[in-house]
């Protein structure tokens, strides 16, 4: 097992910079998820750690050892690919053993490791099949098996669940989490799916355009997103963003379609702010009522109902209501939220934190 240290890591193809001066410490035994929209450089970063891409700038160290010039095979890591990358002409058993044979490992040891992996992943009945005779989920297990037989210091996963259907994805997610609990090895996991990131990670790194937007636990990212991008990226259904004009010297805000309400004391002098509220915190006819809107769409999800509510400005807000709630499209409803549930972002999109004492004095005057 080993931690990982990235210092000013950069990657460029000619003039095109994919990764820009990245610093990151990955702790020993951590399940770190790299998440971001496609093209953000997360896979490239993973491949740089793996040794499949050159590192243009900075250093990558596994444990105490800088590995920039170390070939992939010497980095003592395993990688699981999105495509599984199973050798199609070999049986499952041979797929599992192939990598170990390169290291001139005694046959008995190879067999022991292969058998162990097969038992852990419950693929023992499949050992003599070829990959094409396996389902997607089974292939994925074999791919993971091939990674664990190496008994590496570090596991790398490149979107390993993307090719699976939704149900299997949920199942494999749980299995990966329990595998992690069992092995305790450092894992770096790339995904574009924030749900995967939230459910599995010890910590999440949100990447955009080759830069780190925020690093933190799933709770930190959800409750205290550092900028608008993270606020919008983490959480499903998506957070509501309200553009606000600051008036009265920073004491009140005006949101088109909602009207004026008073602001807590904020450490910013920007005249425009973005106020964000999660759909779960947007309430119908309760809380500090701010205004009203017309229900445009009702999505019944069983345990809850997702409402699309149009403000008079035309902006659509998302709100979740209980599964029992009987709303219908066309209905006009009062909507509200508690000021404590608001996230404030300045004109450059960075989070601004209300002064601690501020909330107590906040009275909200809902005018419409």
């Amino acid at each position: 097992m080993a931690g990982l240290t990235l210092r000013n890591v950069g990657k460029s193809y000619g003039a095109l910079q994919i990764i820009k001066g990245l610093n990151l410490d990955i702790h020993d035994g951590e399940f770190l998820v790299l998440v971001g929209p496609s093209g953000c450089g997360k896979s490239t970063l993973l491949r740089m750690i793996a040794g499949l891409e050159d590192i243009t700038d900075g250093t990558v160290a596994i444990g105490a050892q800088v590995v920039n010039d170390l070939p992939a095979s010497k980095r003592e890591l395993s990688m699981v690919f999105q495509s599984y990358a199973l050798y199609p002409h070999m049986t499952v058993r041979k797929n599992l053993a192939f990598g170990l044979q390169n290291f001139r490992m005694p046959r008995a040891e190879v067999e022991r490791r292969v058998a162990d992996a097969a038992r852990i992943l419950q693929i023992e009945p499949l050992m003599d099949r070829k990959p094409r005779q396996l389902s997607g989920g089974q292939k994925q297990r074999v791919a993971i098996g091939r990674a664990i037989v190496r008994e590496p210091k570090l596991f790398l996963f490149d979107e390993p669940l993307s090719n699976l259907d939704a149900e299997l994805r949920v199942q494999m997610r749980a299995e990966l989490a329990s595998l992690y609990a069992r092995l305790g090895t450092t894992m770096i996991y790339v995904t574009h799916d924030q749900v995967e990131a939230m459910t599995m990670a010890s910590r999440i790194v949100v990447l955009r355009s080759g830069k780190i937007e925020q690093v933190g636990t799933p709770q930190e990212l959800y409750t205290r997103p550092q900028n608008l991008f993270v606020a919008g990226f983490i959480g499903s259904p998506k957070i509501n963003k309200l553009e606000a004009k600051v008036t009265a010297g920073g004491r009140t805000a005006n949101v088109e379609g909602l009207g004026d309400f008073s602001l807590p004391q904020l450490p910013t002098t920007d005249s425009a702010l973005t106020l964000c509220v999660r759909p779960g915190s947007l309430r119908i006819g309760a809380g500090d009522v701010v205004g009203e809107g017309v229900i445009r769409l009702v999505e019944y999800l069983g345990n809850e109902t997702l409402l699309h509510i149009a403000l008079s400005s035309g902006q659509i807000l998302l709100a979740t209501a209980g599964g029992q709630a009987a709303y219908r499209a066309g209905q006009t409803v009062p909507i509200g939220f508690d000021m404590a549930d608001l996230h404030y972002f300045d004109a450059s999109g960075e989070r601004v934190e209300p002064q601690a004492s501020a909330f107590a004095q906040q009275g909200v005057s809902g005018t419409h």
Binding site: A50, S73, K74, Q133, R150
Partner: protein
């Protein structure tokens, strides 16, 4: 029936040029040659039915037939692997992702386009002439080269080298095959510390097997049919000492020099059967060494 036609009409329409060519131009001569192979026919007098005489003569008394077979087999055994290895080697170099790969592909394919032509065979004759470029080059290195084309021991090798040089079309097919092997497999192998040679033997070759098989069958057929280069280089006679007496050269001489059209037809049918047998052997053994990704079990 109506639905069958409606559904398949476009397919047959596109096949039509081939069908027309086959039925109008090829089928007649094919059937005629089968008939003629049982006759004596000198192109002046009408063919005379002689039963299996041509075939029994060929297998029991015609020493040049056996010589032609020997030369041709010898050539096939050398030229086919040589060309395939050359083609695979160049394809692997090109697959490494050269800049302006299209340019190199065209350049490397050029010999194959020219190779079948008479001009190249004549050029080859000059290259390997007693005072040709090859021997002059060897001379600079202090080696006195043999008289390649007049020496029965070396003449066949000049044609094998020519065959190697014409690696273009199998190379293109190999290149397409190599492109079809997912990069991930090599990356996974890389991470698992697989040395390059083992990647080649354990990943590239097995996954390329269907393409190797295809090229092997095609090139074997091609090699059995080699004619124009052998004809030109041996002055049409199979000389020296019948060392370039390719099967087709012998067949040509029987037909158009000695006007033994019936016998030549019989030779042609025997060649067809030999090629068919080799192709069949390739197909039957393929299930032991060719892995198809999408085959059913």
């Amino acid at each position: 029936m109506k639905r069958f036609i409606a559904r398949n009409a476009p397919g047959y329409l596109f096949l039509m040029p081939w069908f027309i060519g086959f039925f109008l131009l090829a089928l007649g001569p094919i059937l005629a040659s089968l008939y003629l192979s049982f006759t004596r026919y000198d192109m002046v007098n009408a063919p005379r039915w002689i039963g299996f005489d041509n075939y029994t003569y060929m297998f029991t008394r015609d020493r040049r037939f056996w010589k032609a077979l020997e030369v041709t087999f010898h050539y096939v055994v050398l030229a086919v692997p040589a060309r395939l290895i050359m083609a695979l080697g160049v394809a692997m170099l090109l697959d490494k992702g050269l800049r302006s790969i299209g340019f190199y592909r065209a350049i490397f394919y050029l010999p194959s386009l020219l190779g079948a032509s008479i001009a190249i065979a004549i050029l080859w004759r000059q290259l390997f002439d007693a005072n040709g470029v090859v021997n002059q080059t060897l001379g600079y290195l202090g080696v006195s080269g043999p008289n390649w084309l007049t020496n029965p021991d070396t003449s066949l090798y000049t044609l094998v080298i020519l065959a190697m040089w014409q690696f273009g079309s199998p190379m293109l097919i190999f290149l397409a095959g190599l492109r079809g092997i997912p990069r991930d497999l090599y990356e996974a192998a890389e991470i698992d510390g697989t040395p390059p040679w083992r990647q080649f033997t354990r990943i590239t070759l097995p996954l390329l097997a269907p393409v190797i098989f295809f090229n092997l069958v095609l090139q074997t057929i091609e090699a059995f049919k080699t004619f124009s280069s052998a004809f030109i280089i041996s002055n049409g006679s199979g000389a020296p000492a019948d060392s370039l007496l390719f099967y087709t050269v012998y067949l040509f001489n029987e037909a158009f020099k000695f006007f033994r059209m019936g016998y030549a037809s019989a030779l042609a049918w025997v060649l067809l059967i030999i090629i068919a047998i080799f192709t069949a052997i390739a197909f039957f053994t393929s299930k032991y060494w060719v892995h198809y990704e999408n085959e059913r079990d």
